[in-house]
């Protein structure tokens, strides 16, 4: 899969390869130290951020903290909301 920045493709490929190995060989086996891919990730990030700026992608929205949605916390997300049966409250 390509990167958003054409000139980042090679870096992305290297990072993805590093990550995939780390993920299955280290992380899933209980080792949470992720420093092994950090150097390549840093270089790849610089490239992607540059490409994003060039393509005028709103960085504001991208730099917020991780979220998995607030749909569980709101009481229906609006007056006309129709929640599915048996949804979500797990």
């Amino acid at each position: 899969m390509n990167s958003i920045g054409e000139d980042c493709n090679e870096l992305k490929k290297q990072y993805d390869a590093c990550f995939n190995t780390w993920f299955s060989e280290r992380f899933l086996k209980g080792h949470t130290d992720d420093s092994v891919c950090a150097p390549i990730f840093k270089v790849y990030q610089e490239c992607v951020k540059r490409a994003m700026r060039e393509q005028k992608i709103e960085l504001r929205e991208i730099e917020t903290d991780y979220t998995t949605g607030d749909h569980d916390n709101t009481s229906g997300a609006g007056a006309n909301s129709s929640k599915p049966q048996g949804s979500s409250k797990s």
């Binding site: 998995t68 007056a79 129709s82």
Partner: protein
């Protein structure tokens, strides 16, 4: 401002272990069902409290006909995908949403992948669709939900394709089991065909109730450019959905 949202829920069972599913998850593009996905980048990632947090930026083509471009810009759509992976509890939660064009349609999709007791992997998908287009919000949401249901199997098929490619040995075992069941000869081609059917068969989809008064909604929307709207809402929903 209160924005109404419509929601929908589907469930899919993958015939692979949770571990296999999460390993394949990071490699699920490209696949034959995701031809609209153009680019994929990891823009943030860290381990916190033993959990892996990732943020990815996806971009998709915008298959909008020229005559529709005045309704919305003909540019690639950007999608943000946040995920939290807990290796101890064996859960992967992903949250995707479009950035830009949110007033026309905002599509939030949450998928939770978890391990079932039988060792297979359950994916529960929920979609929340909202729109701020005055007078058309309900209709747009209704069509968006329609699209979500129609496409329910598509993402699973694409993901299953990646899983089959990554774990071919698993496929062999499955093929044998399936080929034996209908009492057919276990030829390679038949086996593959059976597997494909089986793959669709195990994809149990249960759509929840969404718009109770859809009929009324549609009557109202029909007054002005019903077909035009439907065409566009469907396309937008398809575009913003990660399953395509």
């Amino acid at each position: 401002m209160v924005v109404a949202a419509s929601s929908c829920r589907t469930e899919t069972v993958f015939d692979y272990s949770w571990r296999q599913v999460v390993v394949a998850y990071w490699n699920r593009y490209p696949n034959p069902s995701s031809t609209h996905v153009l680019t994929e980048d990891t823009i943030k990632r860290e381990v916190r409290d033993g959990k892996l947090y990732s943020r990815r930026l996806l971009s998709k083509t915008n298959p909008v006909p020229k005559w529709g471009s005045r309704f919305y810009n003909n540019v690639p759509v950007r999608i943000i995908e946040d995920s939290v992976l807990d290796p101890v509890k064996k859960t992967l939660t992903t949250f995707t949403r479009n950035i830009g064009m949110k007033k026309i349609m905002k599509v939030d999709e949450i998928v939770v992948y978890s391990e079932q007791k039988d060792g297979r992997t359950l994916a529960v998908r929920r979609a929340y669709i909202s729109s701020q287009v005055f007078g058309f919000s309900r209709a747009i949401r209704a069509f968006g939900i329609e699209r979500f249901k129609v496409n329910s199997n598509k993402a699973s098929n694409g993901f299953n394709y990646v899983l089959r490619k990554m774990f071919p040995h698993h496929q062999m075992a499955l093929t044998t089991a399936v080929a034996l069941a209908p009492g057919t000869a276990a030829g390679t081609q038949q086996g593959t065909a059976a597997l494909t059917q089986f793959g669709e068969g195990v994809t149990a989809t249960t759509a929840g109730n969404h718009n109770g008064n859809k009929t009324e909604t549609m009557k109202n929307a029909a007054k002005i450019g019903y077909d035009f709207l439907k065409c566009h809402a469907t396309k937008i929903a398809q575009l913003f959905s990660v399953r395509n």
